[in-house]
């Protein structure tokens, strides 16, 4: 028939707000079951108070914080990667560099060639022979040349004649003949 309360009956008694009337009557009449119930309810009350002392974590704030920190780290990594690859990978920089190279190199080569031609022409390719431009500038022989020429002896004039003839031949070989 109806005996002492079992363990599961005590648990049900603690968790359920409504206690069946027959269990209440048995607890009142049975000293053993009442003593057990009182000790269990004291422990239960103690555990319940501890649960109430621990505040419930704010899971929403926690999730938000974790998300923020993960996002911050990813942004930091992205920034450091962009610092290295900013000028190489940016399309506008790539285009500008390409245009600069495509225009700059041929233009530079053209100017270099023009400068070289101009320098060659100014020095005078057709008149190098044995006299350098520096020697020509410092010559200043206007008066002395013909003075010396007038003072040559006949043999020296003959020698000069031969030299001039050979110079004319060399000149006609080197350059086109005067019209």
């Amino acid at each position: 028939m109806f005996g002492h309360l079992k363990s599961e009956d005590f648990v049900n008694l603690m968790e359920s707000s409504e206690v069946p009337a027959q269990w209440r009557r048995h607890l009142d009449s049975c000293h053993r079951c009442r003593t057990t119930w009182e000790s269990l309810s004291a422990v239960h009350a103690e555990i319940t108070s501890v649960d109430e002392d621990i505040p419930e974590p704010d899971w929403a704030a926690f999730r938000s914080s974790v998300r923020d920190q993960l996002f911050a780290r990813s942004v930091q990594r992205e920034a450091s990667r962009r610092r290295w690859t900013r000028w190489v990978m940016r399309p506008s920089a790539v285009w500008a560099l390409s245009v600069m190279l495509a225009v700059g190199i041929p233009t530079g080569a053209l100017f270099w060639n023009l400068q070289k031609d101009h320098n060659t022409e100014s020095i005078g390719l057709e008149t190098p022979r044995t006299t350098s431009p520096a020697e020509l500038i410092e010559a200043g022989t206007d008066k002395m040349v013909f003075d010396d020429l007038m003072q040559l002896t006949e043999s020296e004039k003959e020698q000069l004649h031969l030299l001039l003839q050979s110079a004319q031949k060399g000149s006609s070989h080197h350059n086109e003949k005067a019209p």
Binding site: G124, T127, T130, S171
Partner: protein, 156 residues
């Protein structure tokens, strides 16, 4: 008849000799120098045929004047040396010779300026610049050849 023929031949031959003696024989070296300067001018200044025809006469005048002025200058220099060495030379003589020498110097400069101003209208600016180079270079080369002619052994 034979004597007449001989007389005629004699007259012809002697007349011919006289004519050749009267004709001034251009110095061979002057012609060489003129050819040299003309060739140098064409080579350095790079004239076209039309320019060359016009410029050639200007170069000819320029070179002939240089010969004439240099001869005069050398003669006055010789006179100056003589007047300075002579103890009995008067101041008037010395001043006149000095003035003649200075005039020859001035004539050299004037001949130079005349040559440049005469050729300038015939040439473009680049060619005008090359004329200055031509003058320096041609004089320099000629001086080298004069030195070689004076000392042919040293050039070997």
């Amino acid at each position: 008849m034979k004597r007449l023929l001989n007389a005629f031949l004699f007259l012809i031959l002697t007349r011919g000799v006289d004519l050749s003696a009267q004709r001034p024989q251009p110095l061979k070296i002057e012609a060489d120098i003129l050819d040299f300067y003309v060739a140098e001018f064409h080579s350095v200044v790079k004239t076209n045929p039309d320019q060359f025809t016009k410029v050639r006469t200007v170069i000819k005048d320029y070179i002939e004047n240089r010969f004439e002025i240099s001869a005069r200058r050398l003669e006055m220099l010789q006179q100056l040396r003589m007047l300075v060495q002579r103890t009995n030379s008067t101041d008037e003589e010395i001043l006149r010779a000095t003035s003649e020498f200075d005039k020859a110097d001035a004539d050299l400069q004037a001949n130079q300026a005349k040559f440049l101003t005469t050729v300038a209208p015939l040439l473009n600016p680049r060619q005008q610049a090359r004329v200055r180079i031509f003058q320096q270079m041609a004089d320099r080369r000629l001086l080298q050849m004069i030195n070689s002619a004076r000392n042919p052994e040293g050039q070997k």
